[in-house]
């Protein structure tokens, strides 16, 4: 317990002093603010470029705005989390920073547990807050079809839970690879490949990406164009949550509907996260942590 508490304190100090909170907060906050603003400006931009473009396709509402944010932040947020946290364990090992704590009796389960809890909570809180910020500005800029604060909070919670699973994934990759960049890229590839499994009915209830699906669906039906705001597109169109629009107006979010069993998904993710965390601890217990050992 002493290791867990000591590392929790240390990670908080590190994130504050190395501006990790600021970087993640600014990143998610920027897109939370810029997505509805871009969407609001889009009709004017398109009208000036294509005067004959049908105006009815450019009538957005708050639901669509928040769904658009979820779509963008899935792709970009994964990058931010992977690149900010890719060295969370690899750096400690490679640079010999674990030598003193471990030789003084630190437990590896405490070290890994503190990092997962700290970054899981921090990233989830930032994602939740930024999604609610996005909801607020979406409602301000697009009066009318308001998804409601409860639905928005539910979506924000699901998005936060999704990114908490990404923290565990990045930490796992960081324990497996000596080079932080390799860890970040592997975690990113896994996150981007995962949506493929949501197209397989049997797998849908077992992959974290379904949280993104449900987060979009729970907001209700939005209206807007299927082409997005230009700030990001879903990987593998047609696989993602917010696809499903023809060239015309987009109706509803997600072609998947609510086919995912929430309880099964929650249980599956808890088990997956626990297994990944245990393997991470096992790996860190068995890996050589002497300075430069990873390079040998």
């Amino acid at each position: 317990m002493s290791t867990f508490a000591a590392y929790l304190k240390k990670e908080h100090m590190e994130s504050s002093r190395q501006s990790k909170y600021l970087v993640l907060g600014a990143f998610f906050g920027f897109f939370a603010l810029s997505t509805p603003i871009m969407l609001r400006l889009m009709p004017s931009i398109i009208e000036s470029q294509m005067p004959s473009f049908p105006k009815e396709l450019m009538e957005f509402d708050a639901v669509y705005s928040v769904q658009n944010y979820i779509r963008n932040i899935y792709q970009l947020g994964n990058m931010a989390v992977a690149f900010v946290l890719m060295g969370v364990l690899a750096d400690e090992r490679l640079q010999g920073k674990l030598v003193y704590p471990v030789s003084q009796g630190a437990s590896m389960a405490g070290v890994v547990g503190a990092k997962l809890v700290h970054y899981g909570v921090a990233v989830s809180a930032i994602v939740f807050a930024s999604t609610m910020l996005n909801y607020y500005y979406s409602v301000v800029l697009f009066p009318g079809n308001n998804p409601g604060i409860a639905a928005a909070a539910q979506s924000a919670g699901l998005l936060a839970a999704y990114f908490a699973t990404r923290v565990v994934l990045v930490a796992f990759a960081s324990a497996m690879f000596t080079k932080p960049l390799a860890a970040g890229l592997v975690a990113l590839v896994v996150s981007y490949v995962e949506p493929i499994f949501t197209s397989l009915p049997r797998w849908k209830s077992f992959v974290a990406y379904s949280l993104i699906d449900i987060a979009g669906n729970s907001l209700g039906t939005g209206s807007g164009m299927g082409m997005g705001t230009g700030m990001g597109t879903m990987p593998g169109a047609g696989v993602g949550a917010v696809g499903g629009a023809s060239a015309g107006a987009m109706t509803a979010v997600g072609r998947t509907g609510n086919e995912v069993n929430g309880w099964v998904l929650a249980a599956a993710l808890i088990v997956e996260v626990a297994v990944i965390a245990l393997v991470t601890v096992w790996r860190m217990k068995n890996v050589e942590i002497a300075p430069g050992a990873g390079g040998q």
């Binding site: 002493s2 000591a6 003193y100 030789s103 003084q104 050589e288 040998q296």
Partner: protein, 305 residues
């Protein structure tokens, strides 16, 4: 205290340690010497429980390292050659963090941090971020972190290499104080003068294998050179015939007023030389058996095989 038996470790095709065997008695300062790349740091990383090994055994305080890895953490303190810290912390914050990890109560932790910062001469820089420290300051902080929870076995890898002469002396004095307090110190260093000053026993390692391991006294006795240096009150023009003709004398060199007599057999040679000097009409200012320095022994062992 520490028993290393046939310890072996390879990195791919390279054998870093080959059947390394030595013992360290409790309460001793044990010097671990060897040229660069001899395997000293690998051996220390293994003993510190930070690295696995291929075969052999390491026993600390009667406990097998492999079977009691987690139980032995905290028994062993380790100062690596280039200690790394969290650069955004201050020295005091880092030591408090180490104390927190060790489970020391907050009040005792603060007192211990302040005591050690004072001991290693970092009290004034205690609230500066470690990222701005010089290498010598980091070495001192590393020393404080290594002894934070009063380990029974302290492993020091080149603890004085980054220090100025005054700092070196401080560290050597600190090592001696720790020995006096009952701690066993395992010291790896290139600075042989430091070893001579503070070590009770040494092991010399070359190409991953131990070439000598003994107490300093026995090592000196074993590698004593059969040479007697005689200094006269006045310059000699030539080597006296009585000395060159002595049965047990191999050869004699003359350098001003100093004559060095190399013996074939030391014990009878010394007696024979004293008789020959008594017969000479020359005033002898000093007569001494040449003492081998650790450097002589080290060079001889490292170059001999």
């Amino acid at each position: 205290m520490l028993n290393v038996e046939a310890l072996s470790k390879s990195y791919g095709q390279t054998r870093a340690l080959r059947d390394v065997t030595f013992q360290v008695t409790a309460g001793q300062v044990f010097g671990f010497l060897g040229p660069n790349g001899a395997g000293k740091t690998t051996a220390m990383n293994i003993i510190a429980g930070l690295m696995d090994f291929d075969y052999g055994s390491v026993t600390i305080d009667g406990m097998d390292l492999r079977r009691n890895r987690s139980g032995l953490r905290g028994v062993v303190g380790y100062l690596p050659e280039s200690p790394t810290f969290y650069g955004y912390m201050t020295a005091r914050e880092y030591l408090l963090f180490i104390g927190d990890v060790s489970g020391i109560a907050p009040a005792a932790n603060r007192a211990r941090a302040d005591e050690l910062l004072d001991t290693v001469g970092l009290a004034e820089a205690a609230r500066r971020r470690i990222g701005g420290y010089s290498r010598g300051m980091k070495q001192r902080l590393g020393m404080a972190a290594a002894i934070y929870n009063r380990p029974r076995l302290l492993l020091l890898d080149e603890p004085t290499s980054a220090l100025d002469p005054e700092g070196r002396l401080d560290v050597i004095t600190l090592i001696a104080r720790m020995r006096d307090a009952g701690m066993t110190v395992f010291l790896s260093t290139h600075i042989l003068a430091d070893v001579e000053r503070v070590c009770d026993s040494v092991a010399i390692i070359k190409d991953g294998a131990v070439v000598a391991a003994d107490s300093m006294t026995r090592l000196r006795e074993r590698y004593i050179q059969p040479v007697v240096d005689v200094v006269f009150d006045r310059m000699l023009e030539s080597v006296p015939a009585q000395i060159t003709s002595a049965v047990h004398v191999d050869r004699v060199t003359l350098d001003g007023d100093r004559m060095s007599v190399f013996m074939r057999d030391l014990e009878p040679g010394k007696r024979e030389l004293l008789h020959a000097l008594a017969d000479l009409d020359a005033d002898v200012a000093s007569y001494s058996l040449r003492q081998p320095s650790l450097e002589d022994i080290f060079v001889r062992l490292v170059n001999s095989r």
